[in-house]
């Protein structure tokens, strides 16, 4: 489609070349005008075709429709115009063939021959008649002056009548008229001089005729030299008036012949002129039709183009477009409908934009809330798990992972019921109980045994989220690690017991012991059986002392003093232990002399812990078992390790080893390790049982620089 204008231009250019005027062409200026018009049209078509080819963007709205309308209208006019031109050319050709028929040609030739024959006949007759007078004696006498004028005039009159001449003149050799007669009235007072033809006749001595046009018609003039015995002596000039009717017909024949020949000569020119005139008319009509079609198409497509342009702008988002000029026809109605549509569209878009703004604002608010919630959940020490109605985990915070040490498969969208196995079984039971109970809230405390023998005491709270209040339905689990809290509560309880024991038991013990000793001293001699008496009083005293120690330990546990921190060389504590236990050969205290590290701690309390550990090791092992004490110092921690090669500790006992009032010794209070662990925790460290046996290995681990924990 884009090549159509260029194709038309090439056709037009070909036609232009074919119709190019040649030097012998009869078109003249009109041919060049036609060539100019065709070149102009070619250029317009080439320009339009090139523009179409170079056009990459969407054309102007309505331009294609306008071009099609123009092409259609011009074609509608061009086709009949070309047909008419071809028909007219054929008619002209046929007509010219008829006009210039060979019969007409022959007829005109014959007519001209007839006319020429008449003239020839007149001249021949005149020449023949004049030949009779060339050597006429009377005429010679007249021109030589040997005859008087009257006689010569009479002779000339007689000749004129005999030959039918209208005028007879006689000239001597000096071209002087010596006589003459004329039929009718005298036309001139003076005789006309001899012309060149007459002089030629005299010079050559030959009879010559010519035709002369006079006012009253054509005249045949004859010149006859009068030849004497020796030379030409004079000239006879005669005139014959040619018959007017014959001459008129002959001249008409000549004129017709001339016109016919001229037309015949211009035959090609006439045909060419006709062709160029027709072509000129056709081109003018086509150009005018093109202009009119362009104006008409522009008028017709302007509203369409305006509408298309407006639609284009609407598609680009410009909703302020409005079609200003709406004619009172169907297109105008279309334009008004478009304006209404655009207005409504604009209103709708504005409403949508407002809604979008509101939604964006709400979304921002929601995101902000979500961010706050996520930050809250991330920083919350309580573990939070959100489970939907499909038992899928929808949300869980980092605290859950930290508290429960969740495996990797605990991710959002995982099935909660399938994950709650193994050490997470209790969580699953809690969830099941929450799901199956009628009430929406559930709270439980239970222990969870984690890996490495660690037991976690958790407080689990669950709530059912119903869909009536929110769009989400499911369950919310909040899990808190209350192990330390429980431990603190337990310690507090024991402290309270100790305080009461100290208050209620310790005070009577001293009088009891003193009384028993007094009884032993004063009434030993008075009793019958001293042995029994001694045993009983000793038992009272021993048990009272035992109770005092017990109460003392409880009191210590209840009133654990705040650690008095200071920089203490790690090795100094080992040296103290070495001095204290050097009596035991099986105890080896390993001191690294190159180690000069310090630890920020209360040396009395740490020493108490180490004594407790060493004491336990000594009492729990026999003489053959070795006991080792050594220290390990890192950048952050200082560790004191106590190992023994004894029988070790049962796993069952190991769980309760650090609980208060738990002891495997018959006379133990069960508070030593509890106090030791509290001291370690008060320093921000820990006391751990690293191995149950082979060797039994305890480790006191304290930070070298740490804030002191508030005493519980």
């Amino acid at each position: 489609m884009r090549l159509v204008p260029l194709l038309m231009a090439s056709l037009l250019l070909t036609a232009t070349v074919m119709l190019w005027p040649s030097s012998d062409d009869g078109g003249g200026l009109l041919a060049w005008v036609n060539v100019g018009l065709m070149l102009l049209m070619t250029l317009l078509l080439v320009q339009y075709g090139v523009r179409l080819l170079r056009e990459t963007d969407e054309p102007a709205p309505g331009s294609r429709l306008r071009a099609k309308l123009v092409i259609a209208l011009v074609t509608m006019l061009l086709v009949p115009a070309m047909v008419i031109q071809m028909a007219a050319s054929q008619m002209v050709d046929k007509g010219m063939d008829v006009w210039f028929d060979v019969r007409v040609d022959t007829l005109l030739d014959r007519a001209l021959n007839l006319a020429q024959g008449f003239y020839e006949r007149v001249e021949k007759d005149m020449k023949r008649d004049l030949l009779d007078y060339i050597s006429d004696a009377a005429l010679l006498a007249a021109v030589t002056g040997n005859m008087d004028y009257r006689t010569s005039s009479a002779y000339l009159t007689e000749m004129s009548k005999a030959e039918g001449w209208n005028k007879v003149e006689l000239f001597d050799v000096n071209e002087r008229q010596v006589g003459g007669i004329q039929a009718g009235e005298l036309s001139a007072l003076q005789a006309s001089p001899l012309n060149n033809t007459a002089r030629l006749a005299m010079r050559l001595g030959r009879v010559v005729t010519e035709l002369v046009m006079h006012k009253n018609g054509e005249v045949a003039v004859g010149y006859a030299p009068l030849v004497g015995p020796v030379s030409v002596l004079g000239l006879l000039r005669v005139e014959v008036q040619l018959p007017a009717g014959v001459i008129q017909n002959a001249r008409s024949v000549e004129a017709d012949y001339r016109n016919y020949r001229q037309l015949e000569r211009n035959r090609q020119t006439i045909r060419s002129t006709f062709t160029h005139v027709m072509l000129f008319v056709t081109l003018i009509v086509v150009l005018l039709a093109g202009v009119v079609a362009l104006l008409f198409a522009r008028r017709l497509t302007a509203p369409v183009g305006e509408l298309a342009e407006a639609l284009h702008r609407v598609t680009e988002g410009d909703l302020d477009v409005e079609i200003a000029h709406s004619p009172r026809d169907e297109l105008g109605s279309l334009g008004r409908s478009f304006n209404t549509m655009a207005n409504r569209l604009k209103q709708n878009v504005e409403a949508i934009e407002q809604a979008q703004l509101d939604l964006t604002s709400a979304l921002d608010s929601s995101r902000q809330r979500q961010y706050v919630l996520e930050s809250l959940l991330a920083n919350l020490h309580s573990g939070v798990v959100l489970i939907d109605s499909e038992h899928r985990v929808r949300l869980l915070n980092q605290a859950v992972r930290d508290i429960l040490q969740l495996p990797a498969e605990w991710i959002p969208s995982a099935d909660f019921t399938q994950l709650s196995v193994g050490n997470m079984h209790d969580i699953g039971d809690f969830y099941d109980e929450l799901r199956h109970q009628e009430e929406d809230y559930l709270q439980r405390e239970f222990d969870i045994a984690l890996s490495e023998g660690k037991t976690l005491h958790v407080l689990a709270r669950g709530a059912r989220l119903s869909a009536s209040g929110t769009a989400f339905s499911g369950y919310l689990l909040v899990i808190d690690d209350i192990s330390e809290l429980a431990e603190a509560q337990k310690n507090k309880a024991w402290a309270e017991v100790a305080r009461r024991l100290a208050h209620e038991i310790k005070n009577p013990l001293t009088p009891i012991k003193l009384s028993a000793e007094r009884l032993q001293r004063r009434f030993r001699k008075q009793v019958d059986n001293e042995q029994v008496f001694d045993v009983c009083t000793k038992a009272i005293i021993d048990q009272t002392e035992r109770l005092q120690r017990l109460v003392s330990d409880f009191s210590t546990l209840a009133r654990m003093p705040q650690p008095k921190l200071r920089e203490v060389p790690v090795n100094s504590l080992l040296s103290d232990m070495h001095e204290l236990f050097h009596g035991y050969r099986r105890i080896s205290v390993e001191i690294d002399e190159n180690e000069h590290a310090h630890c920020n701690c209360d040396p009395d309390q740490v020493r108490q812990v180490l004594i407790n550990l060493m004491d336990n090791a000594v009492s729990a092992t026999d003489e053959a078992c070795a006991i080792r004490l050594y220290a390990v110092v890192s950048d952050v921690f200082a560790e004191w390790h106590v190992e023994d090669d004894g029988d070790g500790i049962d796993a069952e006992n190991a769980v309760k080893l650090f609980e208060a009032y738990y002891s495997t010794k018959s006379d133990g209070s069960g508070l030593g390790l509890s106090i030791a662990k509290r001291i370690a925790e008060d320093h921000g460290g820990d006391l751990k049982l690293l191995s149950l046996s082979g060797p039994t290995h305890f480790c006191l681990k304290l930070p070298r620089q740490v804030e002191v924990k508030e005493a519980t």
Binding site: P21, S23, G28, G36, L39, L44, L211, R265, R298, E309
Partner: protein, 209 residues
């Protein structure tokens, strides 16, 4: 470009509005350009076409006497050009336009004078004679030989052109003759002279001795 401003689709010029009117400036400029271009091409072609009568140097002879500048020229065309129409009784004429100008190197020659001679032959088919007419002077002569008539048309002999006093010594001049041939009657209309058919063009450069 702002709102509603687009490049012209016709010529991609940066007009502010689309061209809607037939005589809008862009449309007008473009079509004026096309018209000028086509007109120029046509004029060049016409010039080339019309100038088929190439200027022939030294085909013109200049005779100079004490008072008058004469020229002699011979129109070299085939006899049939005149003979055939004359035999058909069609009058034939030749128009000789003689111009004398001062030669200028960097500009058009300065015209000193020009003279036009029209010679016409009117055939008389009935008497088989040819009436030779010098249109400028009105002198006529009837001859009975067609070659004499053709010679009358094609030969300009010793034709007085210019008074010698109008020329200066040692100044280059150029005498030029353009000959137009008319077969048939000469159209007296004003526009007939707009499209002359030059049959020959001759010139001769000369200086006064």
């Amino acid at each position: 470009m702002g709102k509603g401003e687009r490049a012209c689709v016709t010529c991609q010029c940066q007009t502010l509005e689309l061209h809607s009117g037939l005589m809008s400036s862009c449309f007008y400029k473009w079509n004026v350009f096309l018209l000028t271009l086509s007109g120029t091409i046509l004029a060049v072609l016409m010039t080339v076409q019309v100038s088929f009568a190439e200027d022939v140097p030294d085909a013109l002879h200049i005779q100079i006497d004490e008072k008058v500048i004469y020229c002699s020229a011979d129109l070299s065309v085939e006899n049939s050009v005149f003979k055939l129409p004359m035999q058909d009784g069609i009058s034939v004429a030749t128009q000789w336009r003689v111009t004398v100008g001062k030669v200028r190197k960097y500009w058009l020659n300065e015209n000193i004078g020009d003279i036009t001679v029209i010679r016409r032959v009117e055939p008389d088919l009935l008497t088989r004679s040819w009436l030779l007419i010098d249109v400028s002077s009105g002198i006529s002569q009837r001859v009975y030989s067609i070659s004499e008539a053709i010679l009358f048309l094609t030969d300009l002999k010793h034709f007085p052109v210019l008074d010698r006093s109008l020329l200066m010594i040692n100044v280059p001049y150029r005498a030029a003759v353009k000959v137009n041939i008319y077969i048939g009657e000469i159209n007296p209309a004003w526009w007939a002279g707009l499209w002359p058919k030059t049959a020959a063009s001759m010139y001769k450069d000369f200086t006064l001795p």
